[in-house]
Symmetry: C2
Subunit: 112 residues, 2 copies
């Protein structure tokens, strides 16, 4: 349970930045070097390296050093726990709306 | 587009904490005061107030002051954009696996 919570903490935090989401979208089209990733975002290699590290710690990205170049690709994290948490939340919202609807119906019944 | 990105930033950041996710799960069962929310988490009212503020800024919680008591309930944010972003990511992962599969099939074809 603690591990599950820590995974949600790390992945949701990793996804809370537009550059990091952009890196993931770019890597979906294929592996890239740190320099290739940095270019479209107009940020320094150091800045980009920090974002990649956050993504790596959340298992969303994996990196491999080939010679002097660090290659980045998508990691093993498939966001299934995150998908399920959001789904559970949305089900809860629907149930709450259903309960409000029922309450409204009952109130109407009492009025007539 | 900027607004969409800012919403994702705020909601994913709001969801990256176990206490904040716990508050949302608790509020799914009904409204609660700040003191009622603080108790099961064993944190101070000030600490809990800060978490509620982050959730409020992400439209996940709304608060209303009745007399001297602040009541919290779930807000209008239904996490649909977040659900869609994660779904898009998972589709991308599947497509990447399909491409790898095809590549493997082709390599096997060349070997035989």
């Amino acid at each position: 349970m603690v591990q599950y919570q820590e995974q949600l903490d790390r992945t949701f935090a990793a996804l809370s930045d537009p550059t990091r989401r952009g890196i993931l979208e770019r890597l979906g089209r294929g592996s890239a070097t740190i320099s290739e990733l940095a270019e479209p975002f107009g940020i320094s290699l150091t800045g980009l390296g920090k974002h990649v590290q956050v993504l790596e710690e959340a298992d969303l990205v994996r990196t491999e050093k080939v010679g002097r170049t660090r290659w980045c690709s998508l990691g093993p994290q498939d966001l299934d726990a995150e998908r399920r948490w959001i789904l559970g939340y949305r089900l809860m919202l629907e149930e709450r709306l259903d309960r409000l609807g029922e309450l409204l119906e009952r109130t109407k019944g009492q009025e007539s």
